[in-house]
Amino acid sequence: TTKEDVKSESTASAASAGKADPNAALKKGLTVGFLPKQVNNPYFTSADKGGEAALKELGSSYKEVGPSSATDTSGQVSYVNTLTQQQVDAMAVSAQDPGALCTALKQAMSNDIKVVTYDSDTKPECRNAFVSQASAEDLGRTEVQLLAEQIGYKGEIAILSAAQTATNQNVWIDFMKDELKDPKYKDIKLVKTVYGDDDAQKSFQQTQGLLQEYPNLKGIISPTTVGIKAAAQYLSGSKYKGKVKLTGLGTPNDMRKYVKNGTVEGFELWDPSKLGELAARTSVALVSGQITGQEGETFTAGDMGEFTIGKDGVISLGKPTVFTKDNIDQFNF
C-alpha cells in the first residue's frame, strides 16, 4: 500500500452530523474536560482558568487533566481516553500532535462527546471545532510588521521558534515569510530560523548562537512565550541589549521587566483566558446543539459577542493585542 493508494481511497468525512438549531437553549449541568498540552504551563493555566470561569457562569462543571510534559504525546492520548471513560459531555483539547490524538478523539466523538480543539489543532476530521487564538495569518503578518517598524525596515532578522514540529508556529512562520515578500520589506533579510524547543536554556543558547553567527543581526521574532522570554533574558544581560530588537508572542507578566528596561519595545499576544473562555463556550454550544461545527454557523459566546464558524470548523478569537511600555501595566496574565 502506498501513500497514493491511501489518498485515492480516503474521502473527506464530515466530522459532525445532524443539524444545528441556533435557537436551542444552552444546557446546564454539563461537564467539560480541558486537556492542555501541558499542565502547570502558565499559558495553559491562564487559558483553562478562563474556561473554568465561563463554565461556572453557564452552570456547568469544569475539570482539567493533562500530562506534565509538553512532549508526552502518548500521555495526552491516555488522557483523551480517560475523559472518554469518564463520560464528560465535551472536551477542549490543545493537541500536542495533529495526528496522534486522532484515533482517541474519534473514539470520544463516537461516544457522543463533543470535541473542541484550542490553541493547537488536530486534523479537522478528528474534532468538531477549532478555536483559534487569532487567525494564523494575522499573527504571522503582524509580527513581521511590528519588527519591521522597530528596525526601520532594514537589516537581517531571524526567527526563534519552539519545537520544529510545533504546528501552529510553523503555520505562522509560513505567513511571516509570505508577508516578507511584500516590496516594502525588500531591505529586510530573514537569515535563519532556529528552534529552542520551548526550553528556556536551549532557547537561550540558540539566541547566543544567532548573534555569533550573524553579528549584524538587527532583530529576532520569537513566536513562542518561552522563546521570547529566554531571548529577552539573554539580550538584557549582553552587549546587544537595545541594539537587537526582539518581538514575538509573550505574556505581559513575563515580559514586563524587559519592556521596562528597554530590551524589548513591543510584542503581542491574545488573551489566553479569552481563548479558554471561547473554547468553553463553543463546547457548551456544541453540546446544546446550537452549532455542529459546519462552516457558516453562528453563535453568541456570552459577553464576547457573536462568532461565525469559518472553513474547516475554525473559530477565530480575533486580532492579537500589542503590548508596549505604555499599555503593559494594564494587563496581568
Binding site: P42, G209, L211, G237, N253
Partner: protein
C-alpha cells in the same frame, strides 16, 4: 594504633620510578585528551566565525558551562563511590524555585543562595540515607527520588513561575555580570572545583571515597566508615545541585515547574565524557568539569558555525560517542604500554 611513618626510615631521596610517571600520565592523559578536543573545537569555530571568541563570546561560553560544571562536580563525587544521583535535575529545579520564591518578596540574595543550598543538602541527605542505610541500588532509589522531587516541585509550583522581573536587579545582574570576560558565576564554579579536587587528593576522607568505590567490601574491612562517606558524597552532590539551582535563577532569571527537567542525562554525560568511571574508584573532578565544558560548548559552537539546529542533536550525540571512544582507545594503548614495561622489570 601506630603507623610505620618515615621517622624510622631514612629520609633518603625516593627514586620516582618510570612506572610512576607513566601511571600519572595515564590519568592526566584522559583529561588532556578532552582538553585537546575542546581546544581544537574552539579553534575551528573561531576560524569559521571570528565573532566567536569576542569578550561576549567567551563570557557566554563560560557562563553556559558554569551550572553544568557545578552539578557534574557533585555528581562525580557520588559516581566515584560507585553510586549515582539521578535526582540532581529535580533538586536543581526545586531549589531554584525556592530561592526565587524567597527573593520575590525582595529578600537578601545571600540568604536565597543559602536557602537553595540547604534544600539541596536536604535532598542529598535523603538520597544518601536511602542508599547508605537502606543499602539499596542507587540507580533505582535516585530514579525514584527524581520522580518524587519532581512531583513535589510541580505540585508546589503549579503553574507559577519566577521571572526576572520578580527578582532584585542586583541578583540578576550578578548572574550575567563578571570581571571583563570572566563571569562571577564561573569564578564560583572554579573555586568549588579546585577546592573539591584538592580535598579529594590530599585528605584522607577524600581518598576513602575512591577506596570505597574501588572495592566496597575491602573498604569495610579496612575500617572505612562506608555509610558515612557515601552520605557525605550525596549531601555534597545535593548541596552543589542546590547551589547550581540558585545560580540558574540568577543566570536565566526564569524558573518554573519544568526547570531542570531531564538535566540528569546531561550531567551523567558530562561525567562520563570526563572520564569518571561508572564502576567507581577512578576519575577526577577536573575531568568531569572538562566534560561539562565540552558538552555545553558544543551547543554554542554549532550555532556559531551556522550549523542548522536540525543537525545539532545528531552531531552532539556523535561527538559524545567519539569523545568516549577516543578516550578509551588512548587509555587502552597506554595501559598496554604500561603492562609491557612492568612485565620487563617485574
Amino acid at each position: 594504633m601506630t603507623v610505620t611513618t618515615p621517622q624510622n626510615t631514612p629520609v633518603t631521596e625516593v627514586p620516582k620510578s618510570s612506572g610512576t610517571r607513566l601511571v600519572d600520565r595515564v590519568f592526566k592523559m584522559r583529561e588532556l585528551a578532552i582538553l585537546a578536543v575542546f581546544l581544537v573545537m574552539i579553534v575551528i569555530t573561531q576560524l569559521g566565525n571570528s565573532e566567536f571568541l569576542t569578550e561576549q563570546g567567551i563570557k557566554d561560553l563560560l557562563l553556559n558551562a558554569t551550572i553544568l560544571v557545578l552539578v557534574a562536580v557533585g555528581q562525580s563525587l557520588v559516581v566515584i563511590t560507585r553510586n549515582v544521583d539521578l535526582s540532581v535535575g529535580s533538586t536543581l529545579g526545586i531549589s531554584a524555585f525556592a530561592a526565587g520564591t524567597y527573593l520575590q518578596g525582595g529578600g537578601n540574595a545571600v540568604v536565597a543562595v543559602a536557602l537553595a543550598v540547604l534544600l539541596g543538602i536536604g535532598f542529598g541527605l535523603l538520597n544518601g540515607l536511602l542508599v547508605s542505610l537502606g543499602q539499596v541500588p542507587a540507580l533505582v532509589v535516585t530514579l525514584g527520588t527524581l520522580y518524587i522531587i519532581r512531583g513535589i516541585d510541580s505540585i508546589w509550583v503549579g503553574s507559577r513561575q519566577i521571572t526576572a522581573a520578580d527578582l532584585p536587579d542586583g541578583f540578576v545582574d550578578f548572574g550575567s555580570g563578571g570581571l571583563s570576560a570572566v563571569p562571577y558565576l564561573a569564578l564560583i564554579a572554579v573555586v568549588v572545583l579546585v577546592a573539591t579536587a584538592y580535598y579529594l587528593k590530599h585528605f584522607g576522607s577524600g581518598r576513602e571515597l575512591y577506596a570505597l568505590g574501588s572495592n566496597p567490601e575491602a573498604a569495610r574491612l579496612a575500617g572505612i566508615p562506608v555509610r558515612k562517606r557515601i552520605l557525605v558524597a550525596y549531601t555534597f552532590c545535593g548541596a552543589l545541585a542546590g547551589l547550581a539551582g540558585a545560580l540558574y535563577l540568577a543566570r536565566f532569571g526564569n524558573v518554573d515547574s519544568g526547570t531542570g527537567n531531564g538535566y540528569e542525562l546531561t550531567v551523567v554525560s558530562a561525567v562520563v565524557v570526563g572520564g569518571v568511571v561508572f564502576t567507581g574508584g577512578s576519575g577526577s573532578v577536573y575531568g568531569a568539569a572538562l566534560g561539562a565544558l565540552l558538552l555545553t560548548s558544543i551547543n554554542s559552537v554549532l550555532p556559531a558555525l551556522g550549523v542548522s539546529s536540525v543537525w545539532v542533536l545528531a552531531i552532539n550525540g556523535i561527538l559524545l560517542i567519539l569523545a568516549i571512544a577516543v578516550d578509551r582507545v588512548v587509555a587502552l594503548r597506554v595501559a598496554a604500554a604500561l603492562k609491557k614495561r612492568n612485565a620487563r622489570h617485574g
